[in-house]
Symmetry: C2
Subunit: 209 residues, 2 copies
DNA sequence: GTCTATATTAGGATAGAC
DNA sequence: GTCTATCCTAATATAGAC
């Protein structure tokens, strides 16, 4: 593994564990047993490392969102999609845990992050629409735009919330609870026929919590 | 106004506007036209200022929550209660905007913040229970504990979310939208008779957005 | 209580040898 | 590519005069 990539990986791990602002360039170098000078040979500075990590995250999620537009998805695919989005966020969770700070300090990332959030909301709205069109959701009750915003809101703050409420909880459980949470946002709007399906989905996830 | 209080007020304003970590003790002193040395005469340091501000916030909210336990509240009182909680959070919004960072760095505040959140969830759960007992909400559909957590979740992250999505939005609008958001979490569970009331409430708030 | 001046430290970053 | 040594800056904090 090349030093450049090891720097990115080490930085990501430390940022996720300690919080971005509690990790210095020297910390990263120490953790890898290289000198700070060496680190600066590969990257202009800390900001440059973070921007690289953001690019990884951004293109990963963008690809996922694009796929969901192309593929015709079944109801179960929808849950799987939510699940995979959560996993991608988890990998780069420090962007979410220290969101406000990072967006206050790195303007370029802020711009791109906001763009991605809008793209996410739009995609989720389309998913909700498709659930209405297949009559899984009751059209009269649901404002699909409002529901999509609720789901995005949950995706955005689920990890900070869990860190606050259940610090040290394992990765799997956190994500399962997140999917459950989103499912429970949707259930009230489900048609009577599909409500049974949805509620059995709920109980499957509930058993894993 | 005593210098000590002016320091607290100035610090609060700057923290809310610029973010806690972007404001130094020298910034606070400059803004007030006093010397940094003078500031350190009144407070041991930045941490001490923040702890003082947190105490103000904590006791303010705790008092509100206590009142809600004592008083018998009508349906409209409940909305007013949510509204007032939002206002209190807004006054000290930097604790919410930079939540993870502040809780990572100031352990004493972290402890107290978590305790307050638990108290909040408990109080909101009681409110939901009372809505079920007066048959405003459908008992069979709603897990009052789940609903209470959803409402708390919204209270916790509404301001960071609005800053992300609608930066520069006015204070009134943000809070109205927040109340609307919480209302829309509850409406699906409302009994048919009360649903009309709830939905008219919704449209009142909607008109103010 | 308030000021000026200064010490201390930590983090980010560079220069130059190997 | 990597190291050692060093610089620069910003932020916290203190000492001592007024």
């Amino acid at each position: 593994m090349k030093t450049r990539d090891r720097i990115l990986l080490t930085a990501l791990t430390l940022f996720n564990e300690e919080g971005e602002q509690n990790v210095t360039t020297v910390d990263i170098a120490n953790e890898m047993d290289i000198s700070p000078g060496n680190l600066y040979y590969h990257f202009k500075g800390k900001e440059s490392i973070i921007e690289n990590l953001y690019s990884q995250y951004d293109s990963g999620v963008a690809q996922l969102l694009k796929q969901s537009e192309i593929a015709q998805m079944s109801l179960e695919d929808h849950w799987y999609f939510i699940y995979v989005i959560f996993e991608e966020i988890y990998k780069f969770r420090f962007f979410y845990l220290n969101q406000t700070d990072i967006l206050q300090r790195y303007h370029d990332i802020s711009r791109r992050f906001k763009r991605l959030v809008k793209y996410k909301v739009k995609t989720i709205e389309t998913l909700c629409q498709s659930l209405i069109e297949t009559n899984a959701l009751n059209d009269s009750l649901v404002e699909s735009q409002q529901l999509a915003e609720n789901i995005s809101f949950t995706l955005l703050y689920w990890f900070p919330y869990q860190q606050l409420i259940n610090p040290g909880e394992e990765y799997d459980k956190i994500i399962h609870k997140g999917v459950y949470q989103i499912l429970s946002l949707i259930v009230p709007y489900a048609q009577l026929e599909d409500r049974t399906i949805a509620q059995s989905l709920l109980s499957i996830y509930h058993s894993r919590i």
